[in-house]
Symmetry: C2
Amino acid sequence: MLELAVLGLLAEQPRHGYDLKKRLSETLGPLWGISFGSLYPALRRLERSGAIAEVDENATTPGASFVPTGSLKGDLAAARMRLRPRPTRRTRRAYAITDRGRVLFTELLTDESDDDERAFAVKLLFCGHLDPAARLAFLERRRAQLTQRLVADRKPATRTIDRYTRSLLEHRARSTQHDLDWIAELIAQEREDQPDDRSQGATA
Amino acid sequence: MLELAVLGLLAEQPRHGYDLKKRLSETLGPLWGISFGSLYPALRRLERSGAIAEVDENATTPGASFVPTGSLKGDLAAARMRLRPRPTRRTRRAYAITDRGRVLFTELLTDESDDDERAFAVKLLFCGHLDPAARLAFLERRRAQLTQRLVADRKPATRTIDRYTRSLLEHRARSTQHDLDWIAELIAQEREDQPDDRSQGATA
DNA sequence: TGCACGATATATCGATTCGATATATCGTAT
DNA sequence: ATACGATATATCGAATCGATATATCGTGCA
């Protein structure tokens, strides 16, 4: 999931870790407070797998020039580092998405096997990269999921429940309905933009 | 967090793992799909620390009779197990909360340092165990948190954002407002039940 | 000039949680 | 009998979290 989020942001332009975290936190907000302890390992995983690559931050045309910044930028800093046992880098590392990364991005974005709350939010952020039909399918999938949940929520509890528990359950049901209305509106907007409606036909 | 949830349920009556998971899943629902991979280790942690203890399921008076079920219930099953290298138990293990556990439960329930979405939901489930003043403080804390978030959500985005991102942010703000209304009502109900309002007075 | 301090930035550790998988037991319908 | 689905526990590797450490940058101010 984190990998999808990172790839999605890097698909726009090269960024460094701290920036990625800021963007994701302000957009996903309380739903997913990404931590550095998961972000940096994720970046290393992606780099190892060749989905992203470190780039010179000053490269203005993203994707074009991969200047592998193996050399150093500041001699003083470098000298200081050489004095220490493990020369940990603490200056910016900018990453750009690679062609392999774009393929992976599409795979993760269209993967239907993981569809929890988080996954939906992240995928929605980047569903502009999907073609209209796939995007509609994605939204419909979410709608079905929420409808399903609402059915489960509506059925009265089998056992006696405490006052606060009841309130929580009632609020959850209302929230689900709220989410459902939202998705329905997103779908309506999609259909408006795409009246080309061959309803589930295989005439792609 | 899981520990609080487990202790809260066991405070009502002894239960076994599978049951705990069912209860929590149906109540916390999509917000927190507890997995066995976290539940069973949590049970072992709690048992090691003495917060819970294994009990005979047939014990009708919880907390009174701790019959350590070291002995076996079925000879045939036991015989079958002895034939295997590692006689893993797969029959029910019921646990009951101990006095140590009740202390820990209260500590976790009143701990203000972790207050994310999950923590709020879990604590709400068990806030009936708090005294009215503490419960009100808990709800007020949540209200402040949501109000804070709403302020952050309301401020217009500094940068250009995509259509779907905007929709997500708008929906989030509405959801937060929805949650806030809910909490406000819970608080109102509390004050109704507790008009005894000596505002922060120590006259318990 | 220098230097204190908060914001920016990366890294890492231990613990918790997740998701998948394996396997045993129980109830019941055929 | 026995096949099957629901109940039940256990475990592994990987992802994530939360805390902590440390370096660098920008800015105000003495």
